[in-house]
């Protein structure tokens, strides 16, 4: 009986996530949130189907009914987040919040399976992050003056990651963390938000090439500090944010090409300079050659991904714990192993739909500053996702960054939720822009009509007067 439940739930889980993913992409067919309402409702339904089926598997396989309580708390919190968001921010984008909750649910499921203690810890951080995060859209929407602190952001950011570098050098350690009151804190993750605001502000204000150059130099300082801290993943993410934003703000592909060229040159230089980079590249080229040491992680990850097959071995059916740092860097491999390669692929597509939605919001907003903020957040999110998944499956060399929202790690999840909430704030600004434009049009139209009546012309003239 138990076997039937677990075997059938495998297919239910994969199918539900497939439907969820298809729905996520269907939202792009409709232009307004109003028309998408039905899709969002269905998404929430399938989201909970995935979670319930997974937890049935977890309880059936682990034989621990106590997990049911944990699951009940999760249902309450996620349902509350989804509902509250809808009530508090009716102008926000609900696909982004739905997708975030979906990914967090997957995260809770796989973390419960890997380590119950870590799952509980992560759950508290997620809850706290949402409480903090709920203020963010309002702050972004209300406090326009945040735009003006550009150089303060840069100063605080550089000082924070610089301090980590100096502290690391002094203690000869490579752990890039602060521990405050028992909570380990990754500064490079948090400074990402400051960096994003700095880049957006600097490029928004830049009027000539020298100001662009200055912004680039400060961005380079960030990247160099991170490279020296041996935090390659973050260095790459910062660099990619910089490239994307300079390209969007100048609309000049030459800058992108120049930046990419410099990036390639710098990575070749770094490859020669740092042995830990060479080791990673070697492990990427042939992880099985030195399987006992440098290739161990990656080969275990590949074993995991390939052993699951399309529908996975079922929760508790594989041995993802044989992959070192599975909860952080290789969560994707654990998901592919136990929930199946198809499930993992659908999950990656959910990430892609989030990215596209953020980019679409950025595309339609008129305020250039917020456009840069939204697109920067979108690119940072998708690139980090790409680095983790690609690194774990031997598509690109391993960089050791977390999978946003899914991996274990407090700072990462807090920062990602705040980023998403910043984007929601930008969405509200865009909705506001649209209402204002509509209002203006309406007024102008009424004015025109009045004029028409006054002139007693009678001929309706429409079309040309509404310019955006």
């Amino acid at each position: 009986m138990e076997l039937y439940v677990t075997e059938i739930s495998k297919y239910v889980i994969a199918l539900s996530l497939l439907i969820y993913t298809v729905l996520a992409f269907l939202t792009f067919k409709y232009t307004t949130e109003k028309k998408r309402r039905m899709i969002y409702a269905l998404q929430i339904l399938f989201m909970f189907v995935v979670q319930i089926s997974c937890f049935i598997q977890v309880v059936a396989k682990s034989g621990r009914p106590v997990y049911m309580f944990f699951f009940a708390f999760q249902v309450i919190i996620f349902a509350a987040v989804l509902m509250l968001f809808y009530v508090i921010y009716p102008e926000g984008n609900r696909l982004i919040i739905n997708n975030s909750c979906m990914l967090l649910m997957i995260s809770m499921i796989i973390l419960t399976r890997l380590s119950y203690d870590k799952a509980i810890k992560q759950f508290f951080i997620v809850t706290a992050s949402f409480i903090i995060g709920f203020f963010v859209p309002e702050i972004i929407f209300r406090f326009d003056f945040l735009k003006r602190f550009t150089w303060i952001y840069a100063a605080v950011g550089v000082m924070t990651i610089g301090a980590v570098l100096l502290y690391g050098a002094a203690t000869n350690g490579s752990k890039i963390t602060y521990t405050i009151a028992g909570i380990t804190f990754l500064p490079s993750e948090a400074v990402k938000i400051l960096f994003l605001f700095f880049m957006a502000g600097a490029l928004y204000q830049a009027e000539n090439i020298w100001q662009l150059f200055l912004a680039s130099a400060v961005a380079a300082v960030h990247v160099i500090i991170l490279v020296l801290s041996k935090d390659l993943g973050s260095a790459l993410i910062y660099f990619v944010i910089y490239l994307a934003l300079i390209y969007i703000s100048t609309n000049n592909i030459g800058y992108l090409a120049l930046g990419l060229g410099l990036g390639v040159a710098a990575s070749m230089f770094a490859y020669r300079l740092f042995s830990h980079i060479r080791v990673r590249v070697q492990a990427f080229l042939d992880p099985f050659k030195d399987i006992a040491s440098s290739g161990y992680q990656l080969s275990q990850s590949l074993f995991g991904i390939s052993s699951g097959g399309w529908f996975g071995l079922g929760l508790y059916g594989g041995s993802p714990e044989s992959i070192p740092y599975v909860e952080q860097d290789f969560i994707f491999s654990a998901i592919a192993e136990e929930l199946g390669v198809l499930f993992a692929v659908f999950m990656a597509l959910v990430c892609v739909s989030t990215f596209l939605m953020i980019m679409q919001e950025g595309y339609y907003i008129k305020d250039k500053y917020y456009r840069l903020i939204a697109c920067g957040a979108g690119v940072a999110y998708i690139f980090q996702t790409f680095l983790t998944i690609g690194g774990g499956c031997k598509f690109i060399p391993l960089t050791g960054v977390t999978l946003p929202l899914v991996s274990y790690g407090g700072t990462s999840v807090l920062v990602t939720i705040i980023m998403m909430m910043i984007v929601e704030g930008v969405c509200m600004i865009r909705t506001d822009e649209r209402y204002e434009a509509m209002e203006r049009r309406k007024q102008r139209r009424q004015q025109q009509m009045r004029q028409n009546i006054e002139a007693e012309n009678g001929k309706p003239e429409t079309g040309n007067e509404t310019k955006e």
Binding site: Y296, F303, I305, S307, A336, L349, Y363
Partner: protein, 484 residues
């Protein structure tokens, strides 16, 4: 307000607000598509290889859940199975003991042979859900998939006994399909007791190397059997006039201070190309070697897969033989008669012989024909597969007539006048320059006019191929054709 909406919509379509955002979106979507396709492809295509890696702990999960499947011969005899006693302890049993030791291999201590090659299938189960549920209820493990091999118990037994107490190896295969019918390597070991004897086997320094499968991993000087290769190179180099070749053998051939002598100094007198081959005249072949364009010789070696990977799904050693412009005359002469630094594995020689017997086309050699679930459903079948054309059809015809001459008027005369016809080439390979001891080689096929079975034999340190390897070939051919 209503008629405003379509208007704004149209406007959005007309005016592109920001190209960079579109470019970046398309770029990342493309990148993800490529990556996700790669993940699916990589994990699917490498499933078997990755599962078989000894660092993959997931094998243990499958072993805890499934009983390792059995290995069968082509006639359905069990070559290996797992026995579970009342306490649930599992033992791997090999009913034929030492006979199939190397080819079937062992499932413990790192695994070898078919046990290693088919490991993925043996430890996986294809039992359907209802039978799994029924087994669960009884508290039993699921039955793993079974592996059906191409091995013939009768031929294996004959080959095993024919080699008796000598060291060496035998490969028997079907040139039309590439199926390996028998594979023997001696000295051997008993796979039933491998776990207890493992340390002794590893510590052994007597040079017996019992664990080594000499048929695929052994590298020997090919000696005169290599004249097949030299002859092919000569035919390629002299396609029109190879039959006009004449040589007068005095038992020794000298060229620029280097000399080659015939086996036991025998002088063969006046001979043509075919007779040089049939009599296995070293002097004449040293002369032939010097007359072949070096580039042609080198490309012939390449096309016959020397210094290259063989299309084999088992552990093997790469054969080596080479020639270039800087090779000295002495080395060229040594190469022509398969001595010097030339080395070859028995399976490689067998593959070349098979190609000659099969109109120049080599079929992919294989040991496993089918994987079946415990209730007989076919999970995977290994179809007969053309691997590579090694020579033209007419070149293979010429070589075949020459190999027939070896039996009819040459060194393999013990195969003459039987109820079936045979063809082949003998070899007596010297492996130590200080003594005249030699390994006895034979490679050949039968029937000569319609080859069905191909045999390659090496008997270490036995003497001449004609006296020691050919009689073994005869016993195997007899067994194949059902004559006792």
């Amino acid at each position: 307000m209503e008629n405003l909406k379509p208007e704004t919509k149209q406007k959005n379509k007309r005016k592109i607000r920001s190209y960079p955002i579109i470019v970046l979106s398309v770029f990342y979507v493309g990148l993800f598509c490529a990556m996700l396709v790669y993940i699916c492809y990589y994990s699917y295509a490498n499933k078997v290889v990755l599962m078989s890696n000894s660092y993959n702990t997931r094998q243990q999960i499958l072993l805890d859940q499934n009983i390792r499947g059995s290995i069968y011969s082509r006639d359905g005899d069990v070559l290996a199975y797992t026995q579970t006693d009342q306490e649930g302890k599992e033992t791997r049993v090999y009913p034929y003991g030492n006979e199939f030791a190397h080819v079937v291999g062992y499932a413990s201590n790192g695994k070898a042979g078919i046990e290693a090659a088919a490991n993925y299938y043996l430890i996986n189960t294809s039992a359907d859900l209802p039978s799994k549920v029924a087994l669960d209820a009884k508290g039993q493990k699921y039955p793993g998939n079974d592996c059906y091999t191409t091995l013939d118990v009768n031929l294996q037994e004959v080959a095993y006994n024919a080699l008796s107490a000598r060291k060496g190896a035998i490969v028997v295969s079907d040139p039309r399909t590439g199926e390996i019918l028998a594979m023997v390597s001696k000295p051997d070991f008993d796979p039933n007791t491998i776990q207890t004897e493992w340390d002794r086997l590893l510590a052994d320094t007597s040079g017996d190397a019992q664990l080594l499968n000499r048929a695929t991993q052994g590298l020997y000087p090919p000696g005169s059997t290599f004249k097949i290769v030299t002859a092919l190179a000569y035919i390629k180099d002299h396609p029109e006039d190879y039959n006009d070749y004449r040589f007068n053998c005095s038992g020794r051939f000298n060229y620029e201070d280097e000399s080659i002598s015939c086996y036991h100094g025998q002088s063969h007198g006046s001979e043509d190309f075919v007779k040089s081959f049939a009599e296995s005249c070293n002097s004449s072949f040293a002369n032939i070697g010097l007359q072949i364009n070096r580039q042609t010789f080198s490309s012939t070696l390449n096309s016959l897969m020397f210094n290259k990977d063989l299309p084999l799904d088992m552990l093997y050693s790469k054969s080596s033989a080479g020639i270039n412009i800087t090779t000295s005359y002495g080395d060229v002469m040594q190469l022509a008669i398969g001595q010097g630094s030339t080395s070859m594995s028995p399976i490689h020689l067998n593959m070349i012989t098979c190609a000659i017997a099969n109109d120049g086309v080599m079929m992919k050699p294989h040991l496993v024909s089918e994987i079946k679930s415990y209730d007989g459903k076919i999970i995977k079948s290994y179809a007969t597969e053309e691997s590579k054309r090694l020579m033209t059809s007419s070149q293979s015809q010429i070589l075949r007539s020459m190999m027939e001459a070896v039996v009819n008027e040459g060194t393999a005369s013990k195969l003459k006048g039987l109820s079936y016809t045979a063809a082949g080439k003998t070899g007596s390979a010297e492996f130590n320059s200080s003594t005249s001891d030699s390994h006895a080689w034979f490679t050949g096929y039968a029937p000569a006019e319609d080859p069905q079975v191909c045999v390659t034999i090496i008997v270490e340190n036995a003497g001449s191929g004609g006296s020691y390897a050919v009689p073994i070939a005869k016993r195997i051919f007899d067994a194949y054709f059902g004559i006792w």
